[in-house]
Amino acid sequence: MSAPAGTRVAFTFEGEALEALAGQTVAAALLAAGHRTLRTTRVGDRPRGMFCGIGACWDCLVVHNGVPGVRACLQPVADGDRVERQGGAGPPR
């Protein structure tokens, strides 16, 4: 269920309280808040974030409400969402 345009939505990233505009994706809201690193790689623990921005590259993966492997660039923020960086391939699905 989406809120009217312009409404602010509350969510957390790594425990930090943040706001997004209604309709914004997780990746866009995090970028607006200055967060570019969304996960670390399976090999070498290197930082990764949004790359293609259109859901094709599978690089912007986050853990969204406990579910790993969610593409942040496609996932709209809902009120109360809990987003965390994904370490490696994350927990088993």
Binding site: R42, W58, G69, G88, A89, P92, R93
Partner: protein, 385 residues
């Protein structure tokens, strides 16, 4: 563009690359051309399988055994790495009848030097903890390998170049020139003419069109297949795992759709899921119902795959010969024309030994396996309707 070579290799896929490498090592002046980028045909559309497990005894298995050994040598010989993984294969059976057929096949394969262990007593689930507990059992083949096909193709071509070969991608062959006696003397390409003593047709499913430029026919047909690629996962599948029906599908000549599950992990964490076979010409469509069958087969083998997302699917055309052996050797009629194509789904695995057989034919050196069963003549002349 250099204007002369001893051997022009048409096709920069795995078989062309392997042949270029062996020929350059043997001292021939080699020029590889491809209408596209390297590995842009079927080589880039498979899984990088090097299998001895899925072949009944015969010439193809002999070639495969020699070729798997040669891949292990190439890991140390070629200038760049290609993720060679001696991961081994696991072949599963849902019912006792299938398991008995597997055991019988393994006993025959043993006469060709293929090692298989029956792991039906529980060791199967030590090898692959995520496999369905409803399986009747299976066999473990430690001799199966996997390579990354694009990297391996590039490594072979780099090796060829280190021995003086030239590689020209985006260079389409437009004509094959023959002299008054019918002997090949040159190729004309989109980037110029190359005079040569020999032309090797290594264009996979597209080989008949190249052979036709030289006035030759070759019965190689495209056999379409798909691979699903899952999202990256924590380690789940440790070997190449497939169901026993796969062997029958590979060996059949049926035109209609055949699917049987093939599942393996990759170093990047994705899981590759196959395998389908259809004779539909070069139809590039990707029917969702076929992809759904592949997914269902994989989930039945590995229930933990249920709900895992598929990032993408890709499609390739295996080069299929009616007797299921590749064509390796001289053209039946056209002097100076050679063939190395028609490996169906085994081109990656069979490429190194194919190159050895082919170059032995070119130079008169001893061949590691008897070349007679692979003679192109059996696929030439008037095509069957």
């Amino acid at each position: 563009m250099s204007e002369r070579a001893d051997l022009v290799v048409v096709g920069a896929g795995m078989v062309g690359a392997a042949c270029a490498y062996e020929a350059a090592r043997a001292g021939l002046d080699v020029h590889v051309v491809d209408r596209g980028a390297i590995a842009s045909g079927t080589t880039g559309a498979g899984e990088g399988n090097v299998l001895v497990s899925d072949k009944p005894p015969g010439p193809e298995l002999d070639l495969a055994v020699r070729s798997a050994a040669r891949w292990r040598e190439l890991e140390h010989e070629l200038p760049t790495a290609f993720e060679l993984e001696p991961k081994g294969g696991v072949v599963t059976a849902w019912a006792t009848a299938g398991l008995q057929a597997l055991r019988a096949l393994a006993a025959e394969q043993a006469t060709a030097g293929v090692v298989a262990h029956d792991v039906s007593d529980g060791a199967l689930w030590e090898l692959e903890p995520a496999l369905s507990r409803e399986l009747a059992g299976g066999l473990h083949y430690p001799g199966d390998l996997q390579v990354q096909p694009m990297l391996a193709c590039a490594a072979l071509l780099r090796g060829a170049r280190a021995h003086g070969a030239r590689v020209t991608p985006r260079c389409a062959v437009e004509a094959v020139e023959r002299d008054g006696a019918g002997r090949v003397v040159a190729v004309r390409t989109s980037q110029g003419r190359i005079a040569c003593d020999a032309v090797l047709v290594a264009a996979g499913a597209w080989s008949p069109a190249i052979a036709a430029l030289a006035g030759a026919t070759l019965d190689v047909r495209p056999r379409r297949g798909f691979v699903l690629v899952t999202e990256p996962l924590p380690p789940l599948v440790h070997h190449k795992v497939y169901a026993a029906e796969y062997v029958a599908d590979v060996a059949s000549a049926a035109a209609a759709l055949q699917t049987s599950p093939v599942v393996e992990g990759t170093r990047s964490g994705t899981v590759l899921i196959g395998a389908s076979r259809e004779l539909v010409g070069f139809d590039p469509a990707m029917p969702v119902e076929v992809l759904a069958r592949l997914a269902a087969g994989a989930v039945r083998l590995f229930p933990a795959l249920r709900g895992v997302r598929v990032m993408r699917a890709y499609r390739g055309f295996r080069p299929f010969c009616p007797d299921h052996l590749p064509a390796i050797g001289p053209d039946a009629e056209v002097e100076g024309l050679w063939h190395a194509c028609g490996h169906e789904g085994a081109g990656i695995g069979l490429a190194p030994a194919t190159a050895e057989v082919l170059v032995a034919g070119l130079t008169g050196a001893p061949s590691p396996v008897d070349p007679a069963p692979f003679a192109p003549a059996r696929l030439q002349g008037a095509l069957a309707a």
